[in-house]
């Protein structure tokens, strides 16, 4: 599995101009790529399309502004 991430990470780094990696970084790149992708995919997805990301970051608003709309019919 790590070989897949090695290929992915190398291509990603090349596309984004991150080409001068040290040998140590090249060694670590697949594991770091795997960590990023697996962690992201491990976040449970929310079917309700009305639930917005928390982007206001105002703690005073956190409790009172949680969305309470019912799910959309087609979600």
């Amino acid at each position: 599995m790590t070989d897949d991430f090695a290929e992915y990470a190398a291509a990603y780094a090349r596309i984004h101009g991150l080409v001068e990696l040290s040998d140590a970084e090249v060694q670590r790149l697949p594991a770091l790529a795997e960590r990023a992708i697996r962690a992201g995919r491990g976040i449970p997805r929310i079917q309700d399309k009305t639930v917005e990301p928390m982007t206001d970051f105002k703690a005073i608003d956190l409790a009172r502004r949680v969305w309470v709309r019912p799910p959309l019919a087609d979600s």
């Binding site: 990470a9 990603y12 780094a13 984004h16 101009g17 991150l18 140590a24 970084e25 670590r28 790149l29 770091l32 790529a33 960590r35 990023a36 992708i37 962690a39 992201g40 995919r41 491990g42 976040i43 449970p44 997805r45 929310i46 639930v51 917005e52 990301p53 928390m54 982007t55 970051f57 105002k58 703690a59 005073i60 956190l62 409790a63 949680v66 969305w67």
Partner: protein, 470 residues
């Protein structure tokens, strides 16, 4: 027996200063002597500002003598994590990228403390930019801070210098910053009291960011009362910080002595997931604390968080990786060779976080915040351990990472609720253990009240660590 100057709490020192039994000049001198004597071993400080500290102490002495006492922080020496901007004083964030940076303004938190008369001794060690992977790789321009309880052990991070400095008696109190536990973890590792207030409670203006969504400033001190005094001085709306909350600031010391009778305390039961474990000594001290609260009249009940803390961390890490990468992108692409390996590895991970995953994390965060907040309909406080192990040895790298990544701190970074690490005991290995108390948004007063009861009435006092000359 007379308490040495470096072991006086804020309230003890302040009482003596106001009564003119001791002078701020003597107090500052005592701390500078401690720093000179022991910091070659502890590495708590990156920069010491002795000349200005002595000058400020002289000014404080003259003001107090003239009857212009400003309050309980007047003449009290402190130090700050080196990610706080300090006007005219080098601010490095422990990074070679900023080795010679001198800001031309101070963070709002520093300004507020100095307006209250507190005296800045210097800047404290940290992980690079207050972030990383949890690893301590000994590849920054200064060695990592050592734990005053046992210098072969880690302090906890990322506010490693604040934890070490206060425990070692090199400052009466310190400021840190908490993104995933970085005030509470070194507080727990070094046997201190440390509070992460509600997100938005203390201005972040002038603090180098790690992750905008979670960064929260907070104090570390030896006593709960000192944390209450400090929170009162630090809290409040700051127009310079867009995340700052416009919420009234109470006198956090007013209800400290009210006890815990009648408080509903939820004891968190789903602490671990996926093979994680909590050390026996820490579970024993948690049980002891719960029993003590119950005997003192608190109503205890078992409570499950909506998910185990590890699952919260699964969400906070994706957000944190992505935001840190956004903050450091240009340096990462152009000057990566100046970074230590922990920061470089974190940013390399952040480099590959997908936008959809970041947004999924922020959406899930909104749901989890609501679900966690709903627990406070049933209880006033949530009780858990802070860490799942005592501070590990530096030569146990996996344990060092686990100290940071397997614990109970991140749920309250995700949600923004206030949470405090409270010294609980000493494990058989001689290192401190800690409990964590979390409360409702902006209800730090109830946390402090329970913590104060635990510290002063419901637990055995713990002596400070003893340092000896090398």
């Amino acid at each position: 027996m007379t308490t040495p100057l470096h072991e006086l709490s804020i309230t003890e020192a302040s009482t003596k200063i106001r009564a003119r039994e001791i002078s701020p000049v003597d107090l500052v001198g005592a701390f500078l002597d401690r720093i000179a004597r022991f910091d070659d071993e502890i590495h708590a400080f990156l920069t010491v500002d002795a000349a200005r500290a002595r000058a400020a102490a002289k000014t404080a002495e003259e003001e107090i003598a003239a009857g212009r006492w400003r309050g309980p922080l007047h003449g009290i020496p402190f130090a700050v994590k080196d990610n706080y901007f300090t006007e005219g004083l080098r601010t490095t964030a422990a990074s070679r990228l900023m080795a010679d940076f001198v800001p031309d303004y101070s963070a709002t938190a520093i300004v507020r403390l100095q307006q209250s008369g507190a005296i800045l001794l210097g800047k404290l060690n940290t992980w690079e930019y207050g972030t990383g992977t949890g690893a301590v790789d000994f590849d920054l321009f200064a060695p990592p801070a050592a734990n005053p309880w046992n210098q072969e052990h880690f302090t906890g991070g990322s506010s490693s210098g604040p934890g070490a400095a206060v425990a070692a008696g090199m400052a009466t109190f310190a400021l840190g910053s908490d993104t995933g536990g970085s005030v509470r973890l070194p507080a727990a590792g070094c046997g201190l009291q440390g509070i992460k207030p509600t997100f938005g409670r203390i201005s972040r203006h002038g603090i180098l960011p790690n992750c905008w969504s979670f960064d929260t400033a907070g104090p570390l001190a030896w006593t709960v009362e000192d944390c209450a005094v400090l929170l009162g001085a630090l809290a409040g709306l700051d127009p310079l910080d867009t995340s700052s909350a416009d919420v009234a600031v109470p006198d956090f010391t007013a209800e400290l002595g009210a006890g815990v009778a009648g408080l509903r305390i939820g004891v968190v039961t789903n602490l671990t997931a996926d093979g994680e474990a909590v050390e026996d000594a820490i579970l024993a001290d948690l049980d002891r604390a719960a029993t003590a609260f119950g005997r003192a009249g608190a109503q205890l009940r078992a409570v499950e968080l909506p998910m185990a803390p590890a699952k919260y961390r699964g969400i906070t890490t994706t957000i944190n990786w992505a935001e840190s990468f956004s903050i450091h992108e240009l340096d990462f692409l152009d000057r990566r060779e100046l970074m230590g390996s922990a920061l470089r590895d974190k940013l390399t991970t952040g480099f590959m976080v997908r936008a959809a995953d970041y947004l999924a994390a922020q959406r899930r965060r909104r749901e989890l915040t609501a679900a966690t907040d709903a627990l406070f309909d049933e209880v006033d406080l949530l009780l858990s351990p802070t860490t799942y192990r005592t501070a590990p040895r530096f030569d146990e790298p996996e344990a060092v990472v686990a100290f940071t990544t397997v614990n109970a701190t991140s749920p309250y970074n995700l949600t923004g609720h206030p949470a405090m690490s409270v010294r609980a005991g000493l494990a058989p290995n001689g290192l401190p253990t800690a409990i964590q108390l979390a409360g409702r948004f902006f209800d730090e007063a109830t946390i402090l009240r329970a913590a104060y009861a635990y510290e002063t009435e419901l637990s055995e006092p713990i002596p400070r660590p003893t340092l000896t000359d090398a």
